[in-house]
């Protein structure tokens, strides 16, 4: 990913001003939230409600070995509209997109460049919880989302890296002849 010179300078420096923005594409209308205090309106007109660090996001990490980690959004002390959507039919959120952006800010707290997408998922499950605390009830909404490619995990493979498959793709090719049993091959050095 290529950052602009201004963002690169900030990342290499002492002070970083960066917020994380989340855009939920609910069927009845999208809702944007971010972890800042104030409401944020981007130049493209999208508005993100400030959650004042009440939310958390888990699962944004580089997939390894083909694993696609589940994205988990937990928002505590949610606004009424968010909770209302959480209680609606699955059609409101199921398999609809959720985007996570990073937005950098300059020294005057103004958006620096456009936000860039960190992760994208399709909403799968959404549950609301109300918990009694000494200070009263706290509402928490947890939403799970999966990488769109996650469904490929359950699909059978079209082909394999075997000698037979390779010769079917490229007749006469010997590149995969030693794949079978390769773990038992002993190579002596020097």
């Amino acid at each position: 990913m290529d950052f602009s010179a201004a963002i690169e300078a900030q990342l290499a420096g002492y002070t970083v001003r960066r917020g994380r923005l989340v855009w939920f594409d609910f069927a009845s209308g999208p809702i944007g939230v971010w972890n800042g205090w104030r409401n944020l309106t981007l130049p493209d007109g999208r508005k993100f409600l400030g959650m004042r660090n009440l939310g958390s996001i888990e699962g944004i990490r580089q997939p390894i070995n083909g694993a696609t980690p589940e994205l988990l959004f937990t928002v505590t002390g949610v606004p009424e509209t968010f909770l209302a959507k959480a209680r609606m039919e699955a059609a409101e959120y199921y398999n609809r997109g959720v985007w996570i952006y990073s937005q950098f800010f300059d020294a005057d707290l103004q958006p620096l460049d456009s936000p860039f997408v960190e992760a994208f998922g399709l909403m799968q499950g959404l549950r609301a919880k109300r918990q009694s605390t000494p200070e009263g009830f706290v509402r928490t909404v947890t939403l799970t989302a999966e990488n769109p490619l996650a469904t490929t995990k359950r699909r059978p493979r079209n082909s394999y890296m075997t000698d037979t498959d390779q010769k079917q793709r490229f007749p006469g090719d010997r590149g995969a002849e030693n794949v079978a049993g390769i773990e038992q091959i002993l190579i002596r050095f020097p």
Binding site: G13, R17, G36, R38, D108, L109, G136
Partner: protein, 208 residues
């Protein structure tokens, strides 16, 4: 519905923790070079604590009514910041009048104002626009060619947009707030006669 306004005439604090912009700072680990990167998504919101004596009957009634009406922070209210001592000095008998020279966008941190009947606006002074509290982070700089126009920087970023000629309240700035703790405002009376109570308030996003 209009918000309840704190009765500052009747309920003056005896002790005040001046409004403080509670930061949202995240401090990174120490690098090999000894440096620590600091980050934040935003500047945070105001918090304020006050302690006051409740002695007279009117004070007790006003206090109890207010605390009950605010329902532990469910409802927001408007409260002043008791900053008379730091307010700009009046230069005439007429009240200080500060208005925006140009419209203020949501999220802005710089304002241009016209000042009438007031002395210099200094770093650290509070002001409010439509009951949203802000604080100067630079001295007001004069605009070339004008005797009473100035610009300054402030924080937090403008919570909402304001039109040109909107009043900037420097004389008695106010904050839209809510109780930070649902149990705040409890009143214990000595001999059922007088007592002391505290308020912990934080900036509220009511209306935003």
């Amino acid at each position: 519905m209009a918000l309840l306004r704190y009765n500052a005439t009747l309920l003056k604090p005896k002790q005040l923790t001046v409004p403080f912009l509670k930061p949202m700072l995240v401090i990174g680990p120490t690098a090999y070079g000894g440096g620590k990167q600091r980050g934040a998504p935003d500047v945070g919101g105001w918090i304020m604590d006050l302690t006051l004596d409740i002695v007279t009957k009117d004070q007790e009634l006003a206090w109890r009514g207010m605390v009950t009406a605010l329902q532990g922070g469910l409802n927001s209210f408007v409260i002043g910041v008791f900053d008379d001592r730091q307010a700009p000095v009046q230069t005439t008998l007429a009240a200080i009048d500060v208005k925006l020279t140009s419209a203020l966008a949501e999220g802005a941190v710089t304002a241009a104002v016209t000042v009438t009947n007031g002395a210099a606006l200094k770093t650290g002074m509070f002001f409010s626009i439509a009951d949203r509290l802000y604080q100067l982070t630079t001295d007001a700089a004069p605009v070339a060619g004008f005797t009473n126009r100035f610009t300054f920087k402030f924080l937090p970023p403008a919570r909402e947009a304001a039109a040109s000629a909107a009043v900037c309240n420097f004389a008695d700035p106010t904050m839209t707030a809510a109780f930070a703790d649902p149990m705040t405002g409890m009143l214990k009376l000595g001999r059922n006669y007088f007592g002391e109570s505290t308020l912990q308030v934080e900036e509220a996003e009511y209306g935003l």
